[in-house]
Symmetry: C2
Subunit: 256 residues, 2 copies
Amino acid sequence: MTAKPTLVLVGAGNVATHLGAALQKAGFDIKAVYSKTEISAHRLAKALATAYTTSLDNLPAADIYLVAVKDDALPEVAQQLKIGSGIIAHTCGSVDMDILKGSAASYGVLYPLQTFSKTREVNISQVPFCVEGCDEETTSKLEFVARSLSSNVHYLNSDQRQVLHVAAVFACNFTNHMYALAENILQQKHIPFNILLPLIEETAAKVKEHSPHAAQTGPAARGDQGIMQKHIELLKDDETAQAIYKLVSYSIGEGK
Amino acid sequence: MTAKPTLVLVGAGNVATHLGAALQKAGFDIKAVYSKTEISAHRLAKALATAYTTSLDNLPAADIYLVAVKDDALPEVAQQLKIGSGIIAHTCGSVDMDILKGSAASYGVLYPLQTFSKTREVNISQVPFCVEGCDEETTSKLEFVARSLSSNVHYLNSDQRQVLHVAAVFACNFTNHMYALAENILQQKHIPFNILLPLIEETAAKVKEHSPHAAQTGPAARGDQGIMQKHIELLKDDETAQAIYKLVSYSIGEGK
């Protein structure tokens, strides 16, 4: 491939915003941004100094159409979007590549494994990208795009990517919810959440060196029933948090 | 207080090892190390170039006896340990200060909020220390010790500290268990755990800027039932992980 492929961004949410900025920085020409919400399409197009549209029948020609919409919006977009030439690729963890089969002859997936928020910069060069294509040429073109953004690129088929997405829900969303429950608990006694930040940082840093199974500490890992009973009692005003305490402690014990 | 108080370390596990090294580095004179296990007492005493004993009746005179044993070993130590003068302080999150009432006239708590492993260095100067004393003079002496080690010192009474410990179990032990479950899930498809490290790091970094409630993303936060059903199906071979997926997703939804 001599020249960088041209792109159209379908979607204007967190993923599209972060990828769009990174792709432009890496020298890709983004021909247009689509969103069904005009204000979102306009906002991202403005940031990328490009055109926007709110109609899927109206996309300019491009080498790659990158569909960065929420997983549950993907079926509708896939059904409406038909292109004559070029590649269509989606960015979702849990959706099979084949959802795009009817949209183009060449289709694939470019899944960035990261949690994106509009207000935080993410170092894209460290983000793992998982690539899959309907044939070797498509895979290789998508891999070229991924490697232009990051040094951390993997080939994963749809089955593997779906399993990875479940694992990511545990490692990111559920982890973040453990932080949220901790914040709720501290609020009862007016203790600021930031007292936990060094502990949170060290817990995340530890698993760079050791498997999380080996790194486990605390009352459940020690089988300290006395402390666990005391904690369950302290959580009596929050049934859900109490049930999570019991179930996760049981699961830790099961792994010993 | 002109000179630094002298110390005896009661315990030779992870907490005693990390605190002992930090205290010595900060210029404290550690008179001896006690452990009921001779090999542990000897190992830590050697590292600190000090004496050791396996008998609680045989401790040298010191200003502060720091009892860094596991929470469930504390009642026995407290019952056996009686000192004429000086302060006794324990380092446990979930044990009331008053457990030491019969051991000395002056007693208190010096609780470092961190997860310590023998094989990892921890930057003690960032560790939050929670201090409590039976009277103002004791509190102030323990606070002096804490401030010699760290710039992050808090006064917390026993009720607050116990609530903090529950919150720490969620933010550290349960978080680490989410990592462990993610590792199990990836192993099914031979995907290496380290693919998750940038996501784990970003999830931990995000809550330095935003409340975890505001930072939440993912299928449960979006109420995406389709993806959640697919994930629950993918977890069908691990009943406990499946139950955790359902319960934590429900809890995330509850907070919306």
